[in-house]
Structures are given as structure tokens and as C-alpha cells.
């Protein structure tokens, strides 16, 4: 039975990874899961300099999910290279570094600092809805997406995954734009912009007013978008959005995802990632699936 998948020339032992921002750099979940089991660890977004993030409250529970407006708090690329990458190198898994910035030069600065680092793939977050100074624009405007993808590809030494925003009219257009600009893979979906108001205090639940919705509540939207994106491009697609168990992950594979990521459900079940891997293997065994490739895009018309 083969669970290996290849994304932009990088072979993962299985398609299961962590979604950026929900797993730190792995340190916090090392007590719960064997990181060696994971196809890849996708780190929290990292920027050129340390970012303090938004005011609190930064999270709010919603029906079947949560809103977050962390505001991309991160320690900056220098400390990240000094501390987080060496930590992850200790494990037999692939390292995908998620990159954040306000401007193209800021993204490029991170990408260049990572150029001689032992990381396998870069994931460029052009879709975080929580950064006011333009983070959202790249992911929502095809021309901006085209420009940033080309610039990053000019500087990146590792293959580049463009992480797309679901807050767009045509995901197929955005997917194709990224592919044509040179992206080696795409990942989706990032969170969907939402809002919650506390009727007792009559205040916004989040200090930022709006936040990104994630969790099982968004899964059908994510599956639809992954399907549409996979139909539109020939580069690999990494799917995420509400994955809680192996059944959910398989649904994304069938929709056309080559890789899948577990996000907020790590908070509900810290063992979720490894349970997805075990469940996938079980499903393959029970259904006579020899190679996980048979599942990818395997939905029947």
C-alpha cells in the first residue's frame, strides 16, 4: 500500500499535514503526536520582523467552528531560523514554512532568508484576512496575485505553494492565475471572513471586529473550492478547511487534493493529525486502494 505523494518534486510519506497557525512549529503538539508520522509540518506564518498581532479577544467559538483574528503574531524570521527550523529538523517529516508580509519586499525578505535553510517548501499566505495593510489584496485581486507570485518565484530557492483566499468570486480564476505566474502548487482554503456580536454586552466578540472562520462549519465550501481549483489547474492542490477525521480528508482527496491539512480541529482533538493518517490507511486497506493516487481527484461524475 502506498501513501506517498509528491508535491512540486518533494515526496511526502503521506498526504497529511498541519494547517498553518494551528500547530505552531510543532513544539506544542510534540507531547500529543509523533511528528515523524506527519507528511509535513506547515509552520505558523512568519514575517521579516517580529509582529505583535492584534488586540485580544482574538478568538471566538462559533457553531461548528471558530473565528480568529490573531493578526499573524510571529517572532520574525531570524528567531524562527535559529529556533524553529532546527527543532523541526530533528524529525523525519517535511518542513513547509508559511510566509507572511504586508508588501512584496517584506515577503521577498523572508523568502531570501530561507533560501539557504533546510526547508522543503514555502507556502505564501496571500490570504490572511486579518492584516489591514494589504495582506488581503494579494489574495483577492488576480493582478496582485500574479505580481506577487512572479516576484516570489524569482527569489525563492524552494518550490512555492500559493495559499489562496476563499474570499473571492472565482476560485478557479485565482488558481489559474497562480499557476500561470509560476506557482508550483496551491493550497486552500484559508479562513472565510466572519463576524460575531455578543448580544449580552452588545460588543463585537473579537477586538478586530472581523475574523477568519475555520472548522467543520466551512468544510463544504472548502471541498467545493478545492474541486473547482483542482479542475482549473494541473499543479498539485493542498486542501483544507474543517478536516476532523479521515473521512473528511478522503473527501478532499476525492475532490482533487494531493495533500490535506488539519487546522482548528487540532484544538478539539490534539491527536487529530495522526488519527487522520491511521484512518486513511484503514480506508485504503478496507477498500482495496493500492495507492493513494487512486483517490486523488477520484470523485465520480
Amino acid at each position: 500500500m502506498n501513501t506517498k505523494v509528491t508535491i512540486a518534486g518533494v515526496e511526502l510519506k503521506n498526504p497529511v499535514m498541519t494547517a498553518s497557525g494551528t500547530f505552531g512549529s510543532g513544539m506544542e503538539y510534540e507531547e500529543f503526536v509523533d511528528i515523524n508520522r506527519l507528511g509535513a509540518v506547515v509552520t505558523k506564518g512568519v514575517s521579516a520582523v517580529p509582529w505583535p498581532g492584534n488586540e485580544t479577544p482574538r478568538v471566538a467559538e462559533t457553531y461548528g467552528g471558530m473565528l480568529n483574528a490573531i493578526g499573524l503574531q510571529n517572532p520574525g524570521i531570524d528567531l524562527f531560523i535559529e529556533r524553529d527550523i532546527p527543532f523541526l529538523r530533528e524529525f523525519d517529516t517535511k518542513i513547509i514554512v508559511n510566509v507572511a508580509g504586508h508588501t512584496i519586499p517584506e515577503y521577498v525578505a523572508v523568502v531570501e532568508k530561507l533560501s539557504d535553510q533546510p526547508v522543503d517548501l514555502l507556502e505564501i499566505n496571500v490570504s490572511c484576512p486579518n492584516v489591514k495593510e494589504g495582506g488581503i489584496a494579494f489574495g483577492q485581486d488576480p493582478r496582485a496575485l500574479d505580481e506577487i507570485t512572479r516576484e516570489i518565484k524569482r527569489h525563492a530557492k524552494q518550490p512555492v505553494i500559493m495559499k489562496l483566499s476563499p474570499n473571492v468570486t472565482s476560485i478557479a480564476l485565482m488558481a489559474r492565475t497562480a499557476e500561470m505566474a509560476g506557482a508550483d502548487a496551491i493550497s486552500l482554503i484559508n479562513t472565510i471572513t466572519g463576524m460575531q456580536i455578543d448580544i449580552r454586552s452588545r460588543k463585537f466578540a473579537l477586538a478586530n471586529k472581523t475574523g477568519g472562520l475555520s472548522g467543520p462549519a466551512i468544510k463544504p465550501i472548502a471541498v467545493r473550492m478545492v474541486y473547482q481549483a483542482a479542475q482549473a489547474v494541473s499543479i498539485p492542490v493542498i486542501g483544507m478547511g474543517g478536516i476532523a477525521n479521515a473521512d473528511d480528508a478522503i473527501e478532499f482527496l476525492l475532490a482533487g487534493a494531493t495533500g490535506v491539512a488539519v487546522g482548528m480541529m487540532n484544538f478539539h482533538n490534539p491527536y487529530a493529525t495522526t488519527e487522520v493518517i491511521e484512518g486513511l490507511e484503514e480506508y485504503m486497506e478496507q477498500n482495496g486502494v493500492e495507492d493513494v493516487a487512486e483517490l486523488i481527484g477520484g470523485v465520480k461524475e
Binding site: 497557525g21 494551528t22 500547530f23 505552531g24 513544539m27 506544542e28 503538539y29 507531547e31 500529543f32 505558523k44 517580529p50 509582529w51 505583535p52 498581532g53 485580544t56 479577544p57 482574538r58 478568538v59 471566538a60 467559538e61 457553531y63 461548528g64 467552528g65 471558530m66 480568529n68 490573531i70 503574531q73 517572532p75 520574525g76 528567531l79 472548522g215 467543520p216 482548528m264 480541529m265 487540532n266 484544538f267 478539539h268 482533538n269 490534539p270 491527536y271
Partner: protein
């Protein structure tokens, strides 16, 4: 460090201590590992409410593996917990957070300041540090306090757990409506103690506090004036509870070693912080 895990707790008993205040005892192996000031994340059942509810450890019987949680009925999660009958189970994650630095209190005059639902978490601390307390350290550590005073502030006459604190600490009560103890806040009560004990410069060598943020602010100021080290247990909205998501930060005076900014994670770097390290 003790390994954190997600596990279950079986309800041993549940009683109502006051209006909307419940006293839940759970049999769980987490009880053998927790320290005062730490908390657990209790999960509601059902796919609508997915995040763990942070609840502080009120007390733990390590031998019997019984964890005691005292909580206030608030919303979706706590309403569900309140309906649990003996024998039923709850999923929970823990032990979470750092806890109070109880070792630092050995041989000292300890002052506990609690407000409202911040009172129960101080009980385990009191029980461990009080010469009359029943809880002991684990792992060869030791050290009772030389004396232990508790100043507890309530809204009204519903002074839950006060009798228990009275058994093992020198208790001063305050109620906002004046229905019991000093009329006013815990800090009003504190200044009253100061006046009464005139002659001794300070009433304590170390302060542990838990309660609403206006109270913590006042404790921080009080400690500064008195020149006494104080440790405050903070509260913030959480998601993961284990330090990964960066939801639960508080502002810090210095750049935090982990975050590299003026932010620390309440769930892992806290919930207990030295008063002088945090900006309230």
C-alpha cells in the same frame, strides 16, 4: 515536565455551592499531576461547541485521583457540564499552564487575594501551603508557609468556599453589597487589615491573586507600594490551550522569549505571571 494529554474524567459528584456556582468532582488521572494554579480544558460534547473550556483546578486528591473544579454557569459549555450526573464522563485536556510558584512561599507569610470565581483556584494553593492544609507536595519538594492569610471578595452574601478557607487560613471577607464581612472590595479589606495590624510593616512576604482584572490591577499596585512580590493568575479567551494558536496573549513589560514581542501566552507561559512582568 508533566506530559499533557487529552483524557476523560468520570463525575464523582456535583453540587451547587451558591447561585450558579457548581462544585464538580471528577475521577481522572490528571489529578495526580496537577499543581495549584494550573487548569484543565473541559470539552463540551457535540459538534457545535468544539473548543475546550479552561477551568482552574480548585483542589486535587492525588491518591484518589479526584480533581475538583468549581465553576460558574456561564454559557453553552458550563450549562452542559452542570447537567452531568455521577458516573457520566467529560473529556478534558491537561494539566495546562504553569501554576503558582508555591515553592517560593516556603517559610513565608503568604497572602492570597481572590475575587469571585477567582477564589476557587486559590484553595489548592492554600491547602498545600497552610500548616493546617491536607495537601502535600510531590516529588520530594516541601515547604509550608509560616502563615497564610486569605482576603476574599464576593458580590453578596453567597460567599462560597469561605468556610473552607477559614479552616486553613486567616480569612478576611469582603462583599460588594456589605452583606458579609467588610463592605467593599477585597482591596478595601486589605487596607483595613493593614490598619489593624499597625506595627508590622507589611502583612505578607508574597502574594498570590486570582480574580477579575480590575482587582488584579489593584493588587499589582498594592504589591508595588508594599514592595512585596505578587503573582497574578490571568484570564483570556483561548482556543488550543497548549501554546500553539497565540489566541490567549497578555501584554508583557519585556520582550517575551518565546514570542519575541511584548506578548506572552496565558495558557502556557501563564496563567500565573509575576505582577511586575505583565501590563494590565
Amino acid at each position: 515536565m508533566v506530559r499533557r494529554k487529552k483524557t476523560i474524567g468520570r463525575v464523582v459528584s456535583q453540587t451547587m455551592l451558591a447561585e450558579d456556582i457548581l462544585d464538580l468532582r471528577l475521577e481522572t488521572f490528571l489529578a495526580s499531576d496537577v499543581m495549584p494554579g494550573q487548569f484543565v480544558g473541559v470539552y463540551p460534547a457535540g459538534a457545535d461547541a468544539l473548543l475546550p473550556r479552561p477551568i482552574s483546578v480548585c483542589d486535587a486528591d492525588r491518591e484518589a485521583h479526584v480533581l475538583r473544579l468549581v465553576y460558574r454557569l456561564t454559557g453553552r459549555g458550563t450549562t452542559e457540564f452542570a447537567l452531568k450526573q455521577p458516573g457520566e464522563v467529560l473529556e478534558m485536556i491537561g494539566p495546562l499552564g504553569n501554576g503558582f510558584p508555591v515553592e517560593e512561599a516556603a517559610g513565608k507569610r503568604v497572602l492570597l487575594i481572590g475575587g469571585g470565581i477567582g477564589i476557587p483556584p486559590l484553595y489548592f494553593t492554600a491547602s498545600l501551603l497552610s500548616p493546617e492544609g491536607t495537601r502535600e507536595y510531590t516529588g520530594g519538594r516541601s515547604g509550608k508557609a509560616s502563615s497564610i492569610t486569605s482576603v476574599l471578595g464576593y458580590k453578596n452574601i453567597q460567599t462560597f468556599m469561605a468556610p473552607q478557607f477559614a479552616e486553613i487560613t486567616d480569612l478576611y471577607l469582603a462583599t460588594e453589597d456589605g452583606s458579609a464581612g467588610y463592605g467593599g472590595t477585597d482591596l478595601d479589606a486589605l487596607f483595613e487589615i493593614g490598619r489593624r495590624r499597625e506595627g508590622s510593616e507589611t502583612v505578607a512576604d508574597i502574594i498570590f491573586a486570582c480574580g477579575p482584572s480590575p482587582m488584579l490591577k489593584a493588587v499589582k499596585e498594592y504589591a508595588l507600594i508594599q514592595g512585596v512580590p505578587a503573582y497574578l493568575s490571568l484570564e483570556e479567551r483561548m482556543a488550543c490551550g497548549v501554546g500553539a494558536c497565540l489566541a490567549c496573549v497578555c501584554k508583557t513589560r519585556n520582550v517575551d522569549a518565546h514570542s519575541n514581542v511584548h506578548n506572552a501566552r496565558v495558557c502556557t507561559d501563564g496563567p500565573v505571571f509575576p505582577a511586575r512582568e505583565v501590563v494590565l
